[in-house]
Amino acid sequence: MENNKTAWERLALVHTKGRPTIRDYIPLIFTDFYEMHGDRLYGDDHAVIGGIARLDGKPVTIIAQVKGRDLNENKECNFAMPLPEGYRKALRLAKQAEKFHRPVICFIDTPGAYAGMAAEERGQGEAIAKNIAEFMTLRTPIISIVLGEGGSGGALALGVCDELAMLENAQYSVVSPRGFASILWKDASREEEACNIMQVTADDMVRLGVAETVIEEPLGGAHNDLDKISENIKEYLSLKIEEKCQKDIDELLKARYTKFRKIGEFTE
């Protein structure tokens, strides 16, 4: 692990062109991936993909936010900023997984939920809220991994899980550093300073009880060795899925609720 990087330097790594996306990882981690489209309510959001696949030969449900690897892909997936129908597709597939007793694996990689008129009209807030509530009691194991950026409520909508892992350079935050600087200091140009005080790194997440595991990236970042980082992710998933599948589901749900229930710092 490289321990000497600032949060800002890690964010630059996450934004490096060539940083692997979910589309790079799926063929190296899973077999028999079949993508499922649409929320059955309105449309098919391209910022979220989902479907079924096999992990170590066993069926799992995959739900993932999609970053583009170039401008065309980014236009196609709206720069990984989901619309409400993306979150509703995620929920539909999660419910499908529950029905067929498959574990759910969520890959988080978004700067945030899309902020736009269409998103508001179709209930962005309601869609995210519903996912958070429903994932809390989904009667099947859920593992989430932050691949790059975990931006705000748009990330949390895939982030209610039994265990959360962060790739070594990945970040998870309540708002983008730019938004943070702009809102709290009325000065968006202070984003580097914001990034470094916000506590957004993988280590911060473990310390604050948000994540349980940091998945090591190859030296210099995930893009330097796709096979190696895929192997690390797969190793983590194989271990955790096996572990969670052996647990009593009611115990698992109790632990899931407690994981989030205990986050917060107050005195009385």
């Binding site: 309601e126 995210i128 809220a129 409520g153 005080i197 911060d204 604050l208 986050i263 107050f266 005195t267």
Partner: protein, 281 residues
């Protein structure tokens, strides 16, 4: 903070051309001005456009619940400083002094025309009622109490969203509160949300959107993303009524829009219709 809204200005009232000097309220919706005294008499409702203005938690309690019935939970809970944000503790100390609140929500039990409920009232004077550790914890405890005691919950929401000064810890309060709502719901509990001005961001994207019944006050703002953020990404002006209660009802996200003066009766009727032994009030 309320004082900020009440500037001493020359104003017009009800289309009357006569200009009156004195403390006045300028309506953020119709831009009309009302003498402050009149606005207060109208329970902070704009006489011209029916915009329902902001109330403090104490004012809301006095207006909504049976006299003396409110019993507060966790009144001494105070937030720590999870990410060491500069001046956050000092800012909070100052706000506690100014508002008389310990954070942005007051929770407890109360009677509405004799119907008992667990209640929560957010107060926008306290850091725009943003949700940090204390708001999250008090809401989670309120729902857990309601679940254990088979009580309905009424939440009066108002919020600018997650409290950024608490970093990722504030984001996690969305999961904590929504989880507690879900367990209350799975236990058969009734949850009524009353959206008040403004309900936005991470609060809209968590417990505020999860009510069995979602009520909004007229002309209040409801949204996930801020209007300015959307305008800057879309590079176009949004319709005047965008994200107002009536717009959100039209889009299917609000059950009913209820005037403040009818709120108490409406809540009492709804509670009674969900009471274990149904009765008429």
């Amino acid at each position: 903070m309320f004082e900020d809204f009440f500037k001493v200005v020359k104003h017009r009232f009800n289309g009357n051309e006569e200009e009156v000097s004195g403390p006045a309220f300028k309506c953020p919706r119709c831009q009309g001005t009302v003498p402050l005294e009149r606005y207060e008499e109208l329970l902070r409702v704009c006489p011209a456009c029916n915009y329902h203005g902001r109330l403090s938690a104490r004012e809301r309690i006095a207006l909504t619940f049976d006299k003396g019935s409110f019993e507060e939970f966790d009144s001494n809970m105070i937030s720590c400083d999870p990410i060491g944000f500069p001046n956050y503790p000092e800012k909070q100390a100052e706000l506690r002094e100014v508002t008389g609140l310990n954070d942005a929500i007051v929770t407890g039990t109360a009677l509405v025309r004799g119907e008992k409920a667990v209640v929560g009232i957010m107060d926008s004077r306290y850091m725009m009622a943003s949700m940090g550790s204390v708001v999250g914890e008090k809401i989670a405890r309120a729902f857990e109490y309601a679940t254990e005691n088979n009580l309905p919950v009424i939440m009066f929401t108002a919020s600018g969203g997650a409290r950024m000064q608490e970093g990722i810890v504030s984001l996690m309060q969305m999961a904590k509160t929504s989880g507690a709502v879900k367990l209350h719901s799975d236990n058969g509990g009734l949850y009524i949300t009353v959206l008040t001005d403004p309900t936005t961001g991470g609060v809209t994207a968590s417990f505020a959107s999860l009510g069995d019944i979602i009520i909004a006050e007229p002309k209040i703002l409801i949204g996930f993303a801020g209007r300015r953020v959307i305008e800057s990404t879309m590079k176009q002006r949004l319709p005047e009524d965008f994200q107002l209660a009536e717009f959100m009802q039209d889009k299917g996200f609000v059950d009913m829009i209820v005037d403040r003066k009818k709120m108490r009766k409406t809540l009492a009727k709804l509670l009674a219709m969900h009471a274990p032994e149904e009765k008429e009030v």
